[in-house]
Symmetry: C2
Subunit: 304 residues, 2 copies
Amino acid sequence: MSLPQQATVVEVGPRDGFQNEHDLVPTEQKIEIIDALSETGLRRIEATAFVHPKAIPQLADAAEVMAKIKRRQGVEYEALIPNARGMERAIQAGVDAVCLVVSASESHNMNNVRMSVADSLEGFRKVAEMAHQHGVKVTGGISTAFGCAIEGWVAPEKVVDMAQAFVSMGVQEISLADTAGMGDPALVTDVIQKVRKKTGDMPLRLHLHNTRGAGLANVFAGLTQGVTVFDGSICGLGGCPFSPGATGNIATADLVNMLESMRIDTGVDLPKLIDCERHVRAILARDLPGQVMKAGATPWAVTP
Amino acid sequence: MSLPQQATVVEVGPRDGFQNEHDLVPTEQKIEIIDALSETGLRRIEATAFVHPKAIPQLADAAEVMAKIKRRQGVEYEALIPNARGMERAIQAGVDAVCLVVSASESHNMNNVRMSVADSLEGFRKVAEMAHQHGVKVTGGISTAFGCAIEGWVAPEKVVDMAQAFVSMGVQEISLADTAGMGDPALVTDVIQKVRKKTGDMPLRLHLHNTRGAGLANVFAGLTQGVTVFDGSICGLGGCPFSPGATGNIATADLVNMLESMRIDTGVDLPKLIDCERHVRAILARDLPGQVMKAGATPWAVTP
Protein backbone atom coordinates (compact mmCIF):
# COMPACT_ATOMS: atom_id res chain seq x y z
CA MET A 1 0.00 0.00 0.00
CA SER A 2 1.50 3.28 -1.08
CA LEU A 3 0.18 6.38 0.70
CA PRO A 4 1.08 10.06 0.35
CA GLN A 5 3.64 11.40 2.83
CA GLN A 6 1.93 14.73 3.25
CA ALA A 7 -1.60 16.08 3.01
CA THR A 8 -3.31 19.46 3.15
CA VAL A 9 -6.32 19.98 5.37
CA VAL A 10 -8.77 22.70 4.32
CA GLU A 11 -10.70 24.06 7.31
CA VAL A 12 -14.24 24.76 6.10
CA GLY A 13 -15.97 25.21 9.46
CA PRO A 14 -16.22 29.01 9.27
CA ARG A 15 -18.23 28.59 6.05
CA ASP A 16 -19.89 25.15 6.05
CA GLY A 17 -20.22 25.01 9.83
CA PHE A 18 -21.41 28.52 10.65
CA GLN A 19 -23.89 28.58 7.76
CA ASN A 20 -25.67 25.64 9.41
CA GLU A 21 -25.85 27.20 12.87
CA HIS A 22 -29.42 28.03 13.84
CA ASP A 23 -28.34 30.97 15.98
CA LEU A 24 -26.09 33.43 14.15
CA VAL A 25 -22.49 33.28 15.33
CA PRO A 26 -21.52 36.90 16.12
CA THR A 27 -19.05 38.36 13.61
CA GLU A 28 -16.46 39.12 16.30
CA GLN A 29 -16.52 35.48 17.39
CA LYS A 30 -16.10 34.25 13.82
CA ILE A 31 -13.06 36.50 13.45
CA GLU A 32 -11.58 35.29 16.73
CA ILE A 33 -12.08 31.65 15.71
CA ILE A 34 -10.60 32.12 12.22
CA ASP A 35 -7.61 33.93 13.73
CA ALA A 36 -7.11 31.09 16.21
CA LEU A 37 -7.36 28.53 13.38
CA SER A 38 -4.73 30.52 11.46
CA GLU A 39 -2.28 29.85 14.31
CA THR A 40 -2.60 26.05 14.20
CA GLY A 41 -0.55 25.42 11.07
CA LEU A 42 -3.57 25.01 8.79
CA ARG A 43 -2.59 26.32 5.35
CA ARG A 44 -6.07 26.78 3.89
CA ILE A 45 -9.20 28.18 5.55
CA GLU A 46 -12.56 28.60 3.82
CA ALA A 47 -13.51 31.69 5.78
CA THR A 48 -16.98 32.47 4.42
CA ALA A 49 -19.23 32.49 1.35
CA PHE A 50 -20.26 35.45 -0.79
CA VAL A 51 -23.88 34.46 -1.22
CA HIS A 52 -27.06 36.49 -1.11
CA PRO A 53 -27.65 37.50 2.51
CA LYS A 54 -31.30 36.51 2.20
CA ALA A 55 -30.32 33.01 1.05
CA ILE A 56 -27.84 32.46 3.89
CA PRO A 57 -28.20 35.17 6.55
CA GLN A 58 -25.61 33.35 8.68
CA LEU A 59 -22.90 34.52 6.24
CA ALA A 60 -24.20 38.03 5.49
CA ASP A 61 -21.09 39.39 7.25
CA ALA A 62 -18.69 37.86 4.66
CA ALA A 63 -17.00 41.15 3.72
CA GLU A 64 -16.59 42.23 7.31
CA VAL A 65 -15.12 38.86 8.30
CA MET A 66 -12.60 39.01 5.43
CA ALA A 67 -11.69 42.62 6.30
CA LYS A 68 -11.12 42.06 10.00
CA ILE A 69 -9.34 38.71 10.23
CA LYS A 70 -5.55 38.77 10.62
CA ARG A 71 -4.23 37.52 7.27
CA ARG A 72 -1.44 35.24 8.37
CA GLN A 73 1.42 34.70 5.91
CA GLY A 74 1.30 31.23 4.38
CA VAL A 75 -2.43 30.75 4.96
CA GLU A 76 -4.87 30.91 2.04
CA TYR A 77 -8.23 32.45 2.88
CA GLU A 78 -10.92 31.09 0.61
CA ALA A 79 -14.61 31.64 0.00
CA LEU A 80 -17.48 29.85 -1.64
CA ILE A 81 -19.05 31.67 -4.59
CA PRO A 82 -22.41 30.97 -6.27
CA ASN A 83 -22.29 33.54 -9.10
CA ALA A 84 -20.63 36.61 -10.68
CA ARG A 85 -22.01 39.01 -8.08
CA GLY A 86 -20.46 36.85 -5.34
CA MET A 87 -17.18 36.79 -7.27
CA GLU A 88 -17.14 40.61 -7.47
CA ARG A 89 -17.65 40.86 -3.73
CA ALA A 90 -15.00 38.20 -3.08
CA ILE A 91 -12.43 40.00 -5.24
CA GLN A 92 -13.21 43.25 -3.47
CA ALA A 93 -12.73 41.48 -0.14
CA GLY A 94 -9.35 40.17 -1.29
CA VAL A 95 -9.85 36.41 -1.03
CA ASP A 96 -6.94 34.18 -2.10
CA ALA A 97 -9.12 31.48 -3.64
CA VAL A 98 -12.72 30.66 -4.40
CA CYS A 99 -14.74 27.51 -4.69
CA LEU A 100 -17.45 27.44 -7.38
CA VAL A 101 -20.02 24.83 -6.44
CA VAL A 102 -22.53 23.05 -8.59
CA SER A 103 -24.42 19.90 -7.71
CA ALA A 104 -24.15 16.66 -9.68
CA SER A 105 -27.84 16.14 -8.94
CA GLU A 106 -30.27 18.28 -10.95
CA SER A 107 -32.87 18.42 -8.17
CA HIS A 108 -30.28 19.34 -5.56
CA ASN A 109 -28.86 22.10 -7.77
CA MET A 110 -32.36 23.42 -8.52
CA ASN A 111 -33.14 23.32 -4.83
CA ASN A 112 -29.92 25.15 -3.94
CA VAL A 113 -29.57 27.80 -6.63
CA ARG A 114 -32.75 27.56 -8.77
CA MET A 115 -30.74 26.71 -11.88
CA SER A 116 -30.08 23.65 -13.99
CA VAL A 117 -26.63 22.11 -13.75
CA ALA A 118 -25.88 23.21 -17.33
CA ASP A 119 -26.84 26.82 -16.53
CA SER A 120 -24.74 26.78 -13.37
CA LEU A 121 -21.70 25.55 -15.27
CA GLU A 122 -22.27 28.03 -18.10
CA GLY A 123 -22.47 30.89 -15.58
CA PHE A 124 -19.24 29.76 -13.94
CA ARG A 125 -17.24 30.30 -17.18
CA LYS A 126 -17.45 34.06 -16.67
CA VAL A 127 -16.90 33.77 -12.93
CA ALA A 128 -13.76 31.67 -13.41
CA GLU A 129 -12.52 34.21 -15.96
CA MET A 130 -13.01 37.03 -13.44
CA ALA A 131 -11.04 35.04 -10.87
CA HIS A 132 -8.18 34.37 -13.31
CA GLN A 133 -7.97 38.08 -14.17
CA HIS A 134 -7.54 38.94 -10.51
CA GLY A 135 -5.09 36.16 -9.68
CA VAL A 136 -7.61 34.36 -7.50
CA LYS A 137 -7.26 30.57 -7.45
CA VAL A 138 -10.35 28.59 -8.44
CA THR A 139 -11.65 25.28 -7.17
CA GLY A 140 -14.38 23.59 -9.19
CA GLY A 141 -16.66 22.07 -6.58
CA ILE A 142 -19.03 19.21 -7.40
CA SER A 143 -21.52 18.57 -4.62
CA THR A 144 -23.62 15.41 -4.21
CA ALA A 145 -20.82 13.66 -6.10
CA PHE A 146 -21.41 10.41 -4.16
CA GLY A 147 -25.19 10.46 -3.80
CA CYS A 148 -28.01 12.89 -3.22
CA ALA A 149 -30.56 13.16 -0.42
CA ILE A 150 -33.25 13.89 -3.03
CA GLU A 151 -32.29 11.71 -6.00
CA GLY A 152 -30.30 8.95 -4.30
CA TRP A 153 -27.73 7.40 -6.65
CA VAL A 154 -25.69 9.83 -8.76
CA ALA A 155 -24.05 8.41 -11.85
CA PRO A 156 -20.24 8.76 -11.68
CA GLU A 157 -20.32 9.64 -15.40
CA LYS A 158 -22.21 12.83 -14.55
CA VAL A 159 -19.48 13.78 -12.08
CA VAL A 160 -16.83 13.08 -14.71
CA ASP A 161 -18.59 15.35 -17.25
CA MET A 162 -18.79 18.16 -14.75
CA ALA A 163 -15.14 17.75 -13.79
CA GLN A 164 -14.24 18.06 -17.46
CA ALA A 165 -16.33 21.24 -17.72
CA PHE A 166 -14.40 22.71 -14.80
CA VAL A 167 -11.08 21.69 -16.36
CA SER A 168 -12.07 23.58 -19.51
CA MET A 169 -12.54 26.72 -17.35
CA GLY A 170 -8.92 26.51 -16.17
CA VAL A 171 -9.64 25.71 -12.53
CA GLN A 172 -6.67 24.86 -10.28
CA GLU A 173 -8.39 22.01 -8.42
CA ILE A 174 -11.53 19.90 -8.46
CA SER A 175 -13.36 19.20 -5.23
CA LEU A 176 -15.62 16.16 -4.99
CA ALA A 177 -18.15 16.65 -2.22
CA ASP A 178 -20.11 13.96 -0.41
CA THR A 179 -22.81 16.42 0.55
CA ALA A 180 -25.30 13.74 1.58
CA GLY A 181 -22.75 11.54 3.36
CA MET A 182 -23.69 8.54 1.23
CA GLY A 183 -20.24 7.74 -0.09
CA ASP A 184 -18.40 4.56 0.78
CA PRO A 185 -14.76 3.68 0.13
CA ALA A 186 -15.54 1.61 -2.97
CA LEU A 187 -17.66 4.34 -4.56
CA VAL A 188 -15.19 7.09 -3.65
CA THR A 189 -12.39 5.04 -5.20
CA ASP A 190 -14.43 4.39 -8.34
CA VAL A 191 -15.41 8.03 -8.88
CA ILE A 192 -11.85 9.24 -8.28
CA GLN A 193 -10.51 6.75 -10.81
CA LYS A 194 -13.12 7.70 -13.41
CA VAL A 195 -12.53 11.44 -12.93
CA ARG A 196 -8.75 10.95 -13.11
CA LYS A 197 -9.07 9.08 -16.40
CA LYS A 198 -10.58 12.19 -18.02
CA THR A 199 -8.86 15.01 -16.12
CA GLY A 200 -5.30 13.68 -15.90
CA ASP A 201 -3.19 15.29 -13.24
CA MET A 202 -5.75 17.93 -12.18
CA PRO A 203 -5.43 18.01 -8.37
CA LEU A 204 -8.40 16.51 -6.55
CA ARG A 205 -9.80 17.54 -3.20
CA LEU A 206 -12.35 15.64 -1.11
CA HIS A 207 -15.12 17.15 1.01
CA LEU A 208 -16.56 14.21 2.91
CA HIS A 209 -19.50 14.41 5.25
CA ASN A 210 -19.64 11.95 8.12
CA THR A 211 -23.44 11.61 8.03
CA ARG A 212 -23.33 7.80 8.11
CA GLY A 213 -20.01 7.40 9.93
CA ALA A 214 -17.86 6.66 6.88
CA GLY A 215 -16.12 10.04 6.57
CA LEU A 216 -12.64 8.91 7.56
CA ALA A 217 -13.08 5.61 5.72
CA ASN A 218 -13.58 7.67 2.58
CA VAL A 219 -10.53 9.78 3.42
CA PHE A 220 -8.50 6.57 3.55
CA ALA A 221 -9.97 5.54 0.18
CA GLY A 222 -8.86 8.92 -1.20
CA LEU A 223 -5.36 8.48 0.24
CA THR A 224 -4.99 5.08 -1.43
CA GLN A 225 -5.76 6.90 -4.72
CA GLY A 226 -3.13 9.57 -4.04
CA VAL A 227 -5.52 12.39 -3.08
CA THR A 228 -3.78 14.80 -0.68
CA VAL A 229 -6.33 17.57 -0.04
CA PHE A 230 -9.17 16.99 2.42
CA ASP A 231 -11.75 19.27 3.99
CA GLY A 232 -12.49 19.23 7.71
CA SER A 233 -14.80 21.32 9.83
CA ILE A 234 -13.87 22.38 13.33
CA CYS A 235 -15.69 20.19 15.92
CA GLY A 236 -17.53 18.50 13.03
CA LEU A 237 -19.76 21.58 12.64
CA GLY A 238 -22.13 21.56 9.73
CA GLY A 239 -24.80 19.18 8.63
CA CYS A 240 -27.41 18.59 6.05
CA PRO A 241 -30.94 19.97 6.25
CA PHE A 242 -32.14 16.64 4.83
CA SER A 243 -30.72 14.62 7.73
CA PRO A 244 -31.78 16.27 10.96
CA GLY A 245 -29.79 15.03 13.94
CA ALA A 246 -27.06 13.52 11.80
CA THR A 247 -23.54 14.87 11.84
CA GLY A 248 -22.09 16.90 9.00
CA ASN A 249 -18.47 17.27 8.06
CA ILE A 250 -15.58 15.29 9.44
CA ALA A 251 -14.22 17.08 12.50
CA THR A 252 -10.89 18.65 11.58
CA ALA A 253 -9.12 17.27 14.67
CA ASP A 254 -10.36 13.75 13.87
CA LEU A 255 -9.02 14.12 10.33
CA VAL A 256 -5.64 15.52 11.41
CA ASN A 257 -5.38 12.90 14.16
CA MET A 258 -5.86 10.04 11.70
CA LEU A 259 -3.47 11.50 9.12
CA GLU A 260 -0.74 12.27 11.66
CA SER A 261 -1.16 8.81 13.27
CA MET A 262 -0.47 7.39 9.84
CA ARG A 263 2.68 9.54 9.64
CA ILE A 264 1.13 11.68 6.91
CA ASP A 265 2.38 15.20 7.60
CA THR A 266 -0.32 17.89 7.68
CA GLY A 267 1.75 20.72 9.14
CA VAL A 268 -0.95 21.17 11.78
CA ASP A 269 -0.18 21.47 15.50
CA LEU A 270 -2.78 18.97 16.72
CA PRO A 271 -2.86 20.00 20.40
CA LYS A 272 -3.41 23.62 19.32
CA LEU A 273 -6.18 22.53 16.97
CA ILE A 274 -7.84 20.51 19.74
CA ASP A 275 -7.66 23.59 21.99
CA CYS A 276 -9.38 25.54 19.20
CA GLU A 277 -12.14 22.92 18.93
CA ARG A 278 -12.71 22.90 22.68
CA HIS A 279 -12.90 26.70 22.62
CA VAL A 280 -15.49 26.64 19.82
CA ARG A 281 -17.47 23.98 21.69
CA ALA A 282 -17.47 26.22 24.76
CA ILE A 283 -18.70 29.17 22.67
CA LEU A 284 -21.51 27.16 21.06
CA ALA A 285 -22.24 25.49 24.42
CA ARG A 286 -23.63 22.22 23.13
CA ASP A 287 -22.48 18.70 22.33
CA LEU A 288 -20.68 18.54 18.97
CA PRO A 289 -19.68 15.48 16.97
CA GLY A 290 -15.87 15.79 17.01
CA GLN A 291 -14.39 12.71 18.72
CA VAL A 292 -10.76 13.63 19.23
CA MET A 293 -11.60 16.80 21.15
CA LYS A 294 -13.37 14.47 23.61
CA ALA A 295 -11.01 11.47 23.64
CA GLY A 296 -7.73 13.33 23.16
CA ALA A 297 -5.20 12.74 20.41
CA THR A 298 -3.69 9.37 19.62
CA PRO A 299 -0.33 9.60 21.44
CA TRP A 300 1.83 9.04 18.36
CA ALA A 301 -0.15 11.60 16.34
CA VAL A 302 1.42 14.37 18.42
CA THR A 303 4.99 13.20 19.07
CA PRO A 304 7.42 14.44 16.44
CA MET B 1 -8.67 -3.04 -5.37
CA SER B 2 -9.95 -6.50 -4.51
CA LEU B 3 -12.51 -6.67 -1.71
CA PRO B 4 -14.40 -9.60 -0.19
CA GLN B 5 -17.91 -10.24 -1.56
CA GLN B 6 -19.38 -11.15 1.80
CA ALA B 7 -18.69 -10.35 5.42
CA THR B 8 -19.96 -11.46 8.81
CA VAL B 9 -20.99 -8.92 11.40
CA VAL B 10 -20.75 -9.97 15.04
CA GLU B 11 -23.17 -8.04 17.24
CA VAL B 12 -21.40 -7.40 20.55
CA GLY B 13 -23.73 -4.77 22.02
CA PRO B 14 -25.43 -7.10 24.52
CA ARG B 15 -21.98 -7.75 26.03
CA ASP B 16 -19.71 -4.80 25.28
CA GLY B 17 -22.53 -2.27 25.25
CA PHE B 18 -24.58 -3.33 28.26
CA GLN B 19 -21.50 -3.84 30.44
CA ASN B 20 -20.72 -0.15 30.00
CA GLU B 21 -24.21 1.08 30.89
CA HIS B 22 -24.21 2.96 34.18
CA ASP B 23 -27.76 1.88 34.99
CA LEU B 24 -28.30 -1.87 34.78
CA VAL B 25 -30.36 -2.89 31.75
CA PRO B 26 -33.15 -5.15 33.11
CA THR B 27 -32.69 -8.82 32.17
CA GLU B 28 -36.06 -8.97 30.43
CA GLN B 29 -35.08 -6.05 28.21
CA LYS B 30 -31.76 -7.66 27.34
CA ILE B 31 -33.59 -10.80 26.28
CA GLU B 32 -36.08 -8.83 24.20
CA ILE B 33 -33.26 -6.96 22.46
CA ILE B 34 -31.21 -10.10 21.76
CA ASP B 35 -34.31 -11.81 20.38
CA ALA B 36 -35.00 -8.83 18.13
CA LEU B 37 -31.37 -8.83 16.93
CA SER B 38 -31.73 -12.55 16.14
CA GLU B 39 -34.45 -11.66 13.64
CA THR B 40 -32.34 -9.23 11.60
CA GLY B 41 -30.20 -11.77 9.78
CA LEU B 42 -27.17 -11.36 12.06
CA ARG B 43 -25.41 -14.72 12.27
CA ARG B 44 -23.34 -14.12 15.40
CA ILE B 45 -24.36 -12.39 18.63
CA GLU B 46 -22.09 -11.98 21.65
CA ALA B 47 -24.90 -12.22 24.17
CA THR B 48 -23.08 -11.76 27.47
CA ALA B 49 -19.91 -12.50 29.45
CA PHE B 50 -19.38 -15.07 32.18
CA VAL B 51 -17.32 -12.90 34.48
CA HIS B 52 -17.39 -12.46 38.24
CA PRO B 53 -20.59 -10.59 39.12
CA LYS B 54 -18.64 -8.32 41.45
CA ALA B 55 -16.27 -7.35 38.61
CA ILE B 56 -19.08 -6.56 36.15
CA PRO B 57 -22.45 -6.46 37.93
CA GLN B 58 -24.08 -5.36 34.66
CA LEU B 59 -23.62 -8.93 33.35
CA ALA B 60 -24.38 -10.88 36.52
CA ASP B 61 -27.48 -12.25 34.77
CA ALA B 62 -25.44 -14.07 32.08
CA ALA B 63 -26.91 -17.53 32.77
CA GLU B 64 -30.48 -16.24 32.90
CA VAL B 65 -30.02 -14.32 29.62
CA MET B 66 -28.66 -17.42 27.88
CA ALA B 67 -31.47 -19.57 29.28
CA LYS B 68 -34.31 -17.28 28.29
CA ILE B 69 -33.39 -16.01 24.82
CA LYS B 70 -34.97 -17.72 21.82
CA ARG B 71 -32.12 -19.66 20.22
CA ARG B 72 -32.72 -19.01 16.57
CA GLN B 73 -31.43 -21.59 14.09
CA GLY B 74 -28.43 -20.30 12.16
CA VAL B 75 -27.41 -17.78 14.81
CA GLU B 76 -24.38 -18.40 17.03
CA TYR B 77 -24.71 -17.11 20.58
CA GLU B 78 -21.35 -16.29 22.02
CA ALA B 79 -19.93 -15.12 25.33
CA LEU B 80 -16.77 -13.55 26.65
CA ILE B 81 -14.84 -15.66 29.14
CA PRO B 82 -12.03 -14.55 31.49
CA ASN B 83 -11.12 -17.89 33.11
CA ALA B 84 -11.95 -21.58 33.74
CA ARG B 85 -14.78 -20.77 36.13
CA GLY B 86 -16.38 -18.58 33.45
CA MET B 87 -15.89 -21.38 30.90
CA GLU B 88 -17.67 -23.86 33.18
CA ARG B 89 -20.63 -21.52 33.53
CA ALA B 90 -20.66 -20.83 29.77
CA ILE B 91 -20.69 -24.54 28.93
CA GLN B 92 -23.51 -25.08 31.40
CA ALA B 93 -25.42 -22.22 29.76
CA GLY B 94 -24.96 -23.81 26.34
CA VAL B 95 -23.08 -21.09 24.47
CA ASP B 96 -22.05 -21.85 20.88
CA ALA B 97 -18.74 -20.00 21.05
CA VAL B 98 -16.54 -18.14 23.50
CA CYS B 99 -14.03 -15.34 23.22
CA LEU B 100 -10.98 -15.54 25.48
CA VAL B 101 -9.56 -12.07 25.90
CA VAL B 102 -6.11 -10.98 26.93
CA SER B 103 -4.60 -7.56 26.50
CA ALA B 104 -1.49 -6.88 24.45
CA SER B 105 -0.61 -4.24 27.02
CA GLU B 106 0.73 -5.54 30.35
CA SER B 107 -0.70 -2.64 32.36
CA HIS B 108 -4.10 -2.95 30.70
CA ASN B 109 -4.21 -6.70 31.37
CA MET B 110 -3.13 -6.19 34.98
CA ASN B 111 -5.77 -3.51 35.35
CA ASN B 112 -8.47 -5.74 33.85
CA VAL B 113 -7.77 -9.17 35.32
CA ARG B 114 -4.90 -8.67 37.80
CA MET B 115 -2.65 -11.06 35.86
CA SER B 116 0.36 -10.78 33.63
CA VAL B 117 -0.20 -11.43 29.92
CA ALA B 118 1.86 -14.65 30.20
CA ASP B 119 -0.27 -15.90 33.10
CA SER B 120 -3.48 -15.06 31.22
CA LEU B 121 -2.34 -16.98 28.16
CA GLU B 122 -1.15 -19.92 30.28
CA GLY B 123 -4.54 -20.06 32.02
CA PHE B 124 -6.33 -20.02 28.67
CA ARG B 125 -4.70 -23.31 27.58
CA LYS B 126 -6.90 -25.22 29.99
CA VAL B 127 -9.95 -23.08 29.17
CA ALA B 128 -9.54 -23.69 25.42
CA GLU B 129 -9.19 -27.41 26.10
CA MET B 130 -12.48 -27.36 28.05
CA ALA B 131 -14.16 -25.60 25.13
CA HIS B 132 -12.82 -28.11 22.61
CA GLN B 133 -14.09 -31.01 24.72
CA HIS B 134 -17.59 -29.55 24.68
CA GLY B 135 -17.65 -28.58 21.01
CA VAL B 136 -17.64 -24.87 21.80
CA LYS B 137 -15.85 -22.69 19.25
CA VAL B 138 -13.04 -20.50 20.57
CA THR B 139 -11.95 -17.03 19.53
CA GLY B 140 -8.59 -15.81 20.81
CA GLY B 141 -9.14 -12.14 21.55
CA ILE B 142 -6.26 -9.68 21.77
CA SER B 143 -7.35 -6.36 23.22
CA THR B 144 -5.37 -3.09 22.97
CA ALA B 145 -3.89 -4.57 19.79
CA PHE B 146 -3.59 -1.10 18.19
CA GLY B 147 -2.67 1.01 21.21
CA CYS B 148 -3.44 1.28 24.90
CA ALA B 149 -4.97 4.09 26.94
CA ILE B 150 -2.38 3.44 29.69
CA GLU B 151 0.79 2.51 27.77
CA GLY B 152 0.16 4.22 24.41
CA TRP B 153 1.98 2.46 21.56
CA VAL B 154 1.76 -1.34 21.51
CA ALA B 155 4.42 -3.16 19.51
CA PRO B 156 2.85 -5.21 16.70
CA GLU B 157 5.40 -7.95 17.50
CA LYS B 158 3.72 -8.45 20.87
CA VAL B 159 0.37 -8.92 19.13
CA VAL B 160 1.94 -11.44 16.75
CA ASP B 161 3.41 -13.46 19.66
CA MET B 162 0.03 -13.60 21.37
CA ALA B 163 -1.70 -14.61 18.16
CA GLN B 164 0.77 -17.49 17.84
CA ALA B 165 0.03 -18.52 21.43
CA PHE B 166 -3.67 -18.66 20.60
CA VAL B 167 -3.00 -20.66 17.43
CA SER B 168 -1.13 -23.20 19.54
CA MET B 169 -4.28 -23.60 21.67
CA GLY B 170 -6.29 -24.61 18.60
CA VAL B 171 -8.56 -21.55 18.48
CA GLN B 172 -10.90 -21.16 15.49
CA GLU B 173 -10.36 -17.42 15.04
CA ILE B 174 -8.23 -14.54 16.29
CA SER B 175 -9.86 -11.24 17.13
CA LEU B 176 -7.75 -8.08 17.08
CA ALA B 177 -9.38 -5.43 19.23
CA ASP B 178 -8.81 -1.69 19.09
CA THR B 179 -9.95 -1.27 22.68
CA ALA B 180 -8.60 2.27 22.98
CA GLY B 181 -9.73 3.41 19.53
CA MET B 182 -6.19 4.45 18.61
CA GLY B 183 -5.87 2.41 15.43
CA ASP B 184 -5.55 3.95 12.01
CA PRO B 185 -5.79 2.24 8.62
CA ALA B 186 -2.01 2.07 8.16
CA LEU B 187 -1.43 0.50 11.58
CA VAL B 188 -4.35 -1.91 11.22
CA THR B 189 -3.00 -2.99 7.83
CA ASP B 190 0.50 -3.44 9.26
CA VAL B 191 -0.61 -5.52 12.26
CA ILE B 192 -2.86 -7.73 10.12
CA GLN B 193 -0.02 -8.38 7.68
CA LYS B 194 2.43 -9.21 10.49
CA VAL B 195 -0.05 -11.52 12.24
CA ARG B 196 -0.88 -13.26 8.95
CA LYS B 197 2.79 -13.91 8.27
CA LYS B 198 2.99 -16.05 11.41
CA THR B 199 -0.52 -17.50 11.61
CA GLY B 200 -1.17 -18.36 7.97
CA ASP B 201 -4.82 -18.82 7.13
CA MET B 202 -6.18 -18.51 10.70
CA PRO B 203 -9.35 -16.42 10.27
CA LEU B 204 -9.06 -12.89 11.64
CA ARG B 205 -11.80 -10.80 13.19
CA LEU B 206 -11.65 -7.08 13.96
CA HIS B 207 -13.20 -5.33 16.96
CA LEU B 208 -12.73 -1.64 16.23
CA HIS B 209 -13.75 1.13 18.56
CA ASN B 210 -14.74 4.45 17.04
CA THR B 211 -13.25 6.52 19.86
CA ARG B 212 -11.43 8.87 17.48
CA GLY B 213 -13.75 8.52 14.49
CA ALA B 214 -11.66 6.04 12.51
CA GLY B 215 -13.69 2.89 13.17
CA LEU B 216 -15.05 2.42 9.66
CA ALA B 217 -11.76 3.57 8.12
CA ASN B 218 -10.15 0.66 9.95
CA VAL B 219 -12.89 -1.67 8.73
CA PHE B 220 -12.02 -0.65 5.18
CA ALA B 221 -8.34 -1.29 5.91
CA GLY B 222 -9.32 -4.77 7.13
CA LEU B 223 -11.38 -5.40 4.00
CA THR B 224 -8.46 -4.52 1.75
CA GLN B 225 -6.50 -7.23 3.64
CA GLY B 226 -9.26 -9.79 3.12
CA VAL B 227 -10.68 -9.74 6.65
CA THR B 228 -14.39 -10.66 6.60
CA VAL B 229 -15.47 -10.69 10.27
CA PHE B 230 -16.20 -7.40 12.05
CA ASP B 231 -17.77 -6.55 15.38
CA GLY B 232 -20.45 -3.92 15.73
CA SER B 233 -22.44 -2.75 18.72
CA ILE B 234 -26.07 -1.78 18.43
CA CYS B 235 -26.43 2.05 18.41
CA GLY B 236 -22.67 2.30 19.02
CA LEU B 237 -23.18 1.31 22.67
CA GLY B 238 -20.07 0.79 24.72
CA GLY B 239 -17.12 2.93 25.45
CA CYS B 240 -13.93 3.06 27.34
CA PRO B 241 -13.62 4.15 30.97
CA PHE B 242 -10.39 5.95 30.01
CA SER B 243 -12.14 8.23 27.49
CA PRO B 244 -15.20 9.70 29.16
CA GLY B 245 -17.59 11.24 26.66
CA ALA B 246 -16.04 9.46 23.71
CA THR B 247 -17.92 6.86 21.70
CA GLY B 248 -17.15 3.17 21.92
CA ASN B 249 -17.79 0.55 19.31
CA ILE B 250 -18.82 1.12 15.73
CA ALA B 251 -22.61 1.17 15.55
CA THR B 252 -23.77 -2.05 13.89
CA ALA B 253 -26.10 -0.24 11.48
CA ASP B 254 -23.27 2.08 10.40
CA LEU B 255 -21.08 -0.96 9.75
CA VAL B 256 -23.76 -2.88 7.85
CA ASN B 257 -24.72 0.24 5.90
CA MET B 258 -21.15 0.78 4.69
CA LEU B 259 -20.62 -2.88 3.81
CA GLU B 260 -23.92 -3.22 1.96
CA SER B 261 -23.32 0.09 0.13
CA MET B 262 -20.09 -1.45 -1.09
CA ARG B 263 -22.05 -4.50 -2.29
CA ILE B 264 -20.45 -6.68 0.38
CA ASP B 265 -23.20 -9.04 1.47
CA THR B 266 -23.75 -9.29 5.24
CA GLY B 267 -27.04 -11.21 5.20
CA VAL B 268 -28.47 -8.52 7.48
CA ASP B 269 -31.84 -6.86 6.85
CA LEU B 270 -30.68 -3.26 7.35
CA PRO B 271 -34.13 -1.64 7.83
CA LYS B 272 -34.92 -4.24 10.52
CA LEU B 273 -31.58 -3.57 12.19
CA ILE B 274 -32.21 0.18 12.14
CA ASP B 275 -35.62 -0.44 13.75
CA CYS B 276 -33.82 -2.45 16.44
CA GLU B 277 -31.38 0.40 17.06
CA ARG B 278 -34.16 2.96 17.30
CA HIS B 279 -35.98 0.70 19.76
CA VAL B 280 -32.87 0.36 21.92
CA ARG B 281 -32.36 4.11 21.79
CA ALA B 282 -35.95 4.58 22.97
CA ILE B 283 -35.37 2.14 25.84
CA LEU B 284 -32.14 3.81 26.97
CA ALA B 285 -33.73 7.23 26.36
CA ARG B 286 -30.59 9.18 25.56
CA ASP B 287 -28.54 10.28 22.57
CA LEU B 288 -26.37 7.45 21.24
CA PRO B 289 -23.55 7.61 18.69
CA GLY B 290 -24.99 5.52 15.84
CA GLN B 291 -25.29 7.69 12.72
CA VAL B 292 -27.36 5.59 10.34
CA MET B 293 -30.22 5.23 12.82
CA LYS B 294 -30.41 9.04 12.70
CA ALA B 295 -29.70 9.71 9.01
CA GLY B 296 -31.33 6.61 7.57
CA ALA B 297 -29.66 4.03 5.32
CA THR B 298 -27.83 4.86 2.14
CA PRO B 299 -30.50 4.12 -0.51
CA TRP B 300 -28.48 1.50 -2.40
CA ALA B 301 -27.52 -0.28 0.83
CA VAL B 302 -31.09 -1.55 1.13
CA THR B 303 -32.20 -2.24 -2.44
CA PRO B 304 -31.55 -5.83 -3.48
